[in-house]
Symmetry: C2
Subunit: 251 residues, 2 copies
DNA sequence: CAGTTCTTTTCCACAAGGCGGAAAATGATG
DNA sequence: CATCATTTTCCGCCTTGTGGAAAAGAACTG
């Protein structure tokens, strides 16, 4: 599950696996359960937990269970700001022109993670939090990014995380996906037709030559985000993507 | 600066010190600068950084500088949710009754960290982000918490972080602070009269018997948060604090 | 309330894993 | 193209983390 690259400091990796595990369980967990899930001896986990608690990255409840600590709040907030800050004005501009939610997402350990968002002014809108992680194969941003990668790397990603379908429209096998990616490369943008969530359509384009593969999308209910809107949105998205790319290499 | 408790795993502690350092510098830093600030040899920092980057908790910019990574966004989001979730309804209730911003903050490594907030409906309001950390001696929540601690512990905290004044109203020496704390214990609540930010008044009470010292406050511009409002707010705050304490021990 | 079982925590001998000095790559600067 | 600054790799030493075993606490139970 966690990406272990060689040359990594073991204990640090394990500490973060613990935090991820807690986050996945959405909050609290006992020591032994934690050890069980991570396939690590209990004392080892305990020592790491003590360290995390000592620093405030985890806390121990009166029930002796563990939870994520408040110190992570600040780190997360700063990370959000620094990751998305440079993009925010551009996203805001797009929302002003298009009136629908615009997202920026990057490839991170085989999934897409949303790093910035400008929400639509509409009351009924997508519920997508910055920081959320989604599969590549069934999202506009994910497919745009995959389309920029060599086939072997796409296969590697799918091999590791699989292609669990999110809706009945989700692409379910590798061959269909590769075909779709070819189509995306041809036309220069990706469409998500309710593949991630029923009734939601999304247009997406990749940010060219980004150091870490990144894409930009507009999404909203299919009744508002129509094909006609697409013809208007695509050029704007592509322009914004180029602008982001420029800023990215500029700094 | 960072709280090192014995029995901690060295490399894990260092890894987090790196992240904190990056967060403090509000974003990006080169390897050698990082090593310099942490007083650690460059190769050591490099190895830890490689680990952090490998896992996605840090990223390396094209300029080879390092920044906080997107993976922290999610951890922070979950931490925020699980830390403040149980308190949110109570805070929301207070805002409905008082019409001003309500904050919940906990003591964490000698400073107060905001763990939950319910913002005032007013347009002009305090800008306080959840996750932000402030000094104890010049905030309502901080003073309320200090007032619950034994004098020696207060002295220890001040000894470590000092009392840098934030405004001309800030308490600037230990003796005045201890007097103020005595007054707070007598009357049962703390007042912050523009000690943290000019023109902002704040009433605060500690959550009794919390495992980790925690306090609750209402704050806003002094023109709205008047002394008269205080007489109305204090009993509500105290009731809410008791309610929080109950929930805290209940779970 | 002793007896049983589960979980958390402490202890400690062992050696794996991390450490950091030195040197090699890489890239910036004049 | 030489020089300087910074990042990255290498590798031997030994500190530091590891995890089995056992103790200390909670939580059930008859």
């Amino acid at each position: 599950m966690a990406s272990e690259r060689s040359g990594s400091v073991q204990s640090v990796g394990r500490a973060f696996e613990i935090l991820e595990q807690l986050a996945a369980a959405d909050g609290v967990m006992g020591l032994s359960e934690l050890a069980e899930r991570l396939q690590l001896p209990v004392p080892t986990v305990h020592r790491l937990m003590r360290t995390l608690v000592g620093f405030g990255y985890a806390r121990q409840l009166p029930s002796r269970q563990y939870a994520l600590g408040p110190r992570l709040i600040q780190l997360g907030a700063v990370a959000t700001k620094t990751t998305g800050a440079w993009a925010q004005p551009i996203l805001d501009g797009l929302v002003r022109q298009l009136g629908e939610t615009v997202n920026l997402a990057s490839l991170e350990s085989d999934k897409m993670i949303y790093v910035a968002q400008a929400p639509s002014p509409h009351a009924m809108r997508m519920f997508t939090e910055v920081g959320r992680r989604v599969y590549c194969h069934c999202t506009g941003v994910g497919k745009s990014v995959l389309a920029t990668l060599p086939e072997e790397r796409v296969r590697a990603i799918i091999g590791r995380v699989g292609m669990p379908p999110q809706t009945s429209h989700s692409i379910a096998d590798v061959d269909s996906l590769l075909e779709e990616l070819a189509a995306i490369r041809r036309r220069g943008y990706a469409i998500d037709e309710g593949e991630q969530e029923v009734g939601v359509r999304c247009f997406a384009v990749a940010v060219p030559n980004a150091a870490v593969p990144t894409a930009l999308s507009v999404s909203g209910p299919a009744v508002r985000v129509t094909t006609e809107m697409g013809t208007r949105a695509i050029p704007l998205l592509q322009a914004a993507a180029r602008q982001l790319a420029a800023e990215l290499s500029g700094s």
